[in-house]
Symmetry: C2
Subunit: 270 residues, 2 copies
DNA sequence: CGAACCATTGACGGGGCTCAAATTGTGTGG
DNA sequence: CCACACAATTTGAGCCCCGTCAATGGTTCG
């Protein structure tokens, strides 16, 4: 039902019956300092996608980047057996399509999980413009680097955290994102299935479901189908565990602040 | 010992007592089409690092990209407990430092696993130059996008493959890389410890060790400490398994070629 | 209103982590 | 060059987390 999703598109204006955004609005969306560019007339077109529609598919010729203005999506890899591997859940302010630059074809698939409004960024246009506007060029590099850092963090999580910790982090991250977007950080609806969450976190859907139920029972959250209430953010944030432990480096003087106080004793002890 | 490591540096020339490379040589190193740029005099300095030395550390101000000309390294994340998470094992032709563009500080640490020779690419110089040379700019975007795609594949692996499959893939990838570099693809030395491999693959060092021993026993490889002999590449390549299975998408008509013939029945059945 | 799809929960087993010890390799100082 | 300390690797035993299989009920949508 998407009841909590706003229909208003702050960024964007009508023109020729469609929505368009100027560069400043795109920068705002990406959480980047606005670029003082003379060409105020530079506009980017929006496109709408309905739930279930594909924004781009694997192998499709690349020519566009996309910025999410509203709505929720998933990006997935498809392996040789047809299995989906969820890579991310892009939402407002996220950039999509960067993986297509290399090879000139998209290497992932983007699917709308709800009705979406996306800003189209023709890549050629962007680079051409960047050549004369240093700030734009820096923005491009910055955004791509940010994506890379994000993925590195993801690798770190998949490589080092337990199922409980992954789910907890997932919830905290979602909460933060919703908060950024002006929604409640304490109560929100998941736009994806347990299956998709599991794929994203490297877990099965049953483990995701069980972990959510466990969090619910000990009062960290409330769960009702796709409605999640965050009850104890701090507990969720500090919930860790190190299955591949003994992975400690021998340079203890490194942790910026061994300020990691006593951790929640994890669920098993309850 | 590094007995199999060549001391020669194909790319690079002496000048002022140091090694320098021009743009064409850098492109070759990165496996990119050579850029026909007029400034033949454009040279990039090399720097040498000894085993154990850090190329850059987390938080250090960013201003350089690095291309590996020879030697082996690891890039790592450090979590709040001081634990290392290995992100990659850069070797000849790999680019390092891209994660530093965003935030102007490196978000990972690069450590030399052997004596190394790196080409320094001052980022400012690169972008400035890219503004007047479209090809160079495209190269920059392309390389960054390639890194991103690589990390996406890594996420897919960590999220979907069993321990055996991860180790098998790791070996095949290494074999390919060594082959590319002109070494034997059938016999090579690991430059990293079991611990580092485990961190990279999201496993414990014991699991890595046991898996290698198991591969050895069934004749897929030979193992003697850090010397690996590849006996049956095809078996290693086709060795998969899908712990988070049932992850099959409901659109079976997708797999580009259900050409996935019968797989090796995995170790457990032997 | 029925047919998918989705979520929850239980039972069970095994893959991989933990703890432990023995062996071998590696680096450093005398 | 050798001896010693330490790091790396291997291997075993045990167990627990989480994947697998299965059944039920709820939700959605044509």
């Amino acid at each position: 039902m998407l009841s909590t999703q706003p229909v208003s598109h702050e960024a964007g204006r009508q023109r020729q019956g469609r929505l368009w955004s100027n560069l400043k609005e795109v920068c705002d969306l990406l959480h980047l300092p606005p670029i003082s560019i003379n060409s105020e007339e530079l506009l980017f077109q929006h496109v709408q996608f309905k739930t279930g529609q594909r924004v781009h598919t694997i192998g499709q010729p690349f020519d566009m980047l996309y910025v999410v203005n509203s709505g929720f999506l998933k990006t997935v890899l498809i392996d040789e057996f047809g299995n989906e591997q969820v890579l991310a859940f892009p939402m407002k302010g996220d950039l999509m399509g960067v993986d297509g630059i290399h090879n000139k074809t998209y290497s992932s698939e983007a699917v709308a999980l709800s009705d979406c409004d996306l800003v189209l960024l023709p890549f050629k246009k962007l680079t051409t413009l960047g050549r004369t506007h240093v700030e734009l060029e820096n923005m491009m590099y910055g955004v791509m680097s940010r994506e890379l850092v994000r993925e590195q963090a993801m690798i770190g999580m998949l490589g080092a955290l337990s199922a409980e910790a992954r789910v907890a982090r997932f919830l905290v991250t979602l909460s933060d994102r919703f908060s950024q977007m002006g929604y409640s950080s304490k109560l929100f609806n998941l736009r994806m299935t347990r299956h998709e969450i599991g794929s994203y976190l490297g877990l099965t859907l049953e483990t995701v479901s069980r972990t959510l139920s466990a969090f619910n029972e000990i009062g960290l959250i409330s769960v009702d189908q796709r409605t999640i209430g965050i009850k104890d953010v701090d507990a969720l944030k500090s919930l860790r565990r190190l299955p591949p432990s003994r992975t400690r480096s021998k340079l203890p003087a490194r942790a910026k602040a061994a300020a990691a106080e006593a951790q929640v004793p994890l669920l098993a002890t309850l």
